[in-house]
Symmetry: C2
Subunit: 318 residues, 2 copies
């Protein structure tokens, strides 16, 4: 099997593009897909300051690597959720990678330790707050990510969501016809209101498998295990069935997600309406000032509810 | 496990309805779902003459049984496609069932024998016409079904498509964003133009498993095997992945397909536009007079192309 581009020996075959690449041409392909995503979705410009949410997984570390190699100014934030050995390992991978890129590019890795802030890890916190763990985790990560972006004046927040993530999420939203979520499924969400940073997903044109290959080929040391809390999750089920269909018909995920984006782009008016709608209903949280649709934001509510489950000393820290 | 309704011993559990039924209450449930489908989608009235497309499978024979028991006037058409032992078996099942209901209700079973008309079965015919077998089969069945409906003055044609069929088709259309097909995915399609009969799917509220149980409990003898031509088809793949999701979350298919119908019903204007659009582009086929968007309809085109592959004697019959 030879490289479609330079005819030397290929290291990866991409059935959905009917192509095969050597390491160099594959890196070129990956960088090109990200550059196209950034440009076509107007994600950010060369002088924008970007904050990447990193987890220690292949996608977010590859994203950091790619953006720096493409010449962008990108720092990162890691939220340690206190999930025992899993968090310890992912934290170590992030720190190690952060040291390397700090030395080469002078960028910063911000850390947020949930256990230091809340006195306990996500499992116990979610239990005290009577929330499913994955939902509590999402609230915390979104909150901290946005807080750091606003406090440190980043222009845009970037996440490592890939084509598989977005296609799976789209499938879930469509199976339940969640119109409101469908409207917000684009890879570039504007800063809808003061206090909410712009959010982008520069990896939406690359599959999970392509990003794993990129990480391996470029010696990015990432945590391979899925989060132990996510076992049996709906998202993983949707990914599995889409992989099943992709194997039979390469390109299924791409046709599905990109086709959706094209369809959405044709009904532009509702996108602006969405932003206007958000602006009309958002207000500062009475406790922390982040934008929220309620009197108190869901993060502060959750933390307050969790407080009830803590002992005196722990509760005092919240 | 007791019947949710009458508390006697249940014979079937329906996780998506969070219910279990004895034979009698299950039959009542099935009849009720069909009656609701007919009423809510304005499919037909008590004095309409209905033509059912029967294949020998559980769905179409159950549909015939149910409509007769609900007091409707329903005849049936069976198209024998000449697929060796499979067609022989399904033909036998249909004839046997047809004799029983003819004796009880005085209804008619129409037969169309492809081999008698074309001198060969669907496999050879598709090959000569350079068409995939399933696509050629669809063209033939739609054509003959419509021809008999119009010639014999039926008010409406009914097919045995169930919830699984419709959800799988919807998934396929959505994965590829086939907008035009999405518009025509409702369970009740009006007679868009002179020469095209109205088409309805009264089983769209019942799953494959429920219809199999109905057939077994009511001693309807049907052909259990899938058509040998359909092996590995996309539709079967879509059904498999939806079954996978249904097992994890009962009600997935229903939420998906019914949710889609509800969404479609809200944008009523496009439904009329569709019918108007059809009327504007349809004209009588110059060969057979059935409505078509081209000069010659796809059935006549296929038959003409297939003719080229036949020997003199066979060709003369076409």
């Amino acid at each position: 099997m030879n490289c479609t581009k330079c005819k030397t020996r290929a290291v990866i075959r991409l059935p959905r593009h009917n192509a095969a690449f050597c390491k160099n041409c594959f890196n070129g392909f990956v960088h090109d897909q990200v550059a196209r995503a950034i440009k076509s979705e107007k994600m950010f410009e060369k002088d924008d300051r970007i904050l990447i949410a990193v987890s220690g997984g292949k996608d977010s570390l590859a994203l950091w690597d790619i953006l720096l190699k493409l010449g962008y100014r990108a720092d990162a934030l890691y939220v340690n959720l206190g999930i025992g050995g899993y968090s310890e390992q992912s934290h170590a991978k992030v720190t190690k990678f952060g040291e390397v890129v700090s030395a080469s590019y002078g960028v910063t890795l911000h850390l947020h330790m949930l256990e230091q802030e809340a006195g306990t890890g996500i499992r116990e916190l979610a239990q005290f707050a009577h929330r499913p763990t994955c939902s509590a985790c999402g609230t915390i990560k979104r909150y901290q990510f946005n807080r750091v972006a606003i406090d440190k004046h980043y222009d845009v927040m970037a996440t490592g969501h890939n084509l598989d993530d977005e296609a799976a999420r789209l499938l879930g939203n469509i199976l339940h016809w969640q119109d409101e979520y469908l409207d917000k499924q684009g890879p570039s969400l504007p800063a809808s209101v003061e206090g909410f940073a712009k959010k982008v997903k520069p990896l939406y044109r690359l599959s999970e498998r392509e990003l794993a290959a990129y990480a391996v080929l470029n010696r990015i040391d990432y945590i391979v295990e899925e989060c132990p809390m996510a076992k049996g999750s709906k998202m993983l089920q949707y990914k599995e069935v889409l992989n099943r269909l992709e194997t039979e018909s390469p390109g299924t995920k791409q046709t599905f997600y990109w086709g959706f984006l094209e369809k959405q782009s044709k009904k532009q008016p509702s996108a602006t309406t969405m932003s206007e709608k958000d602006q009309a209903i958002l207000q500062p949280c009475s406790s922390c000032s982040q934008p929220t649709t309620a009197e108190v934001c869901s993060y502060c509510k959750m933390m307050a509810r969790a407080k009830g489950g803590f002992s005196g000393e722990q509760a005092a820290r919240l």
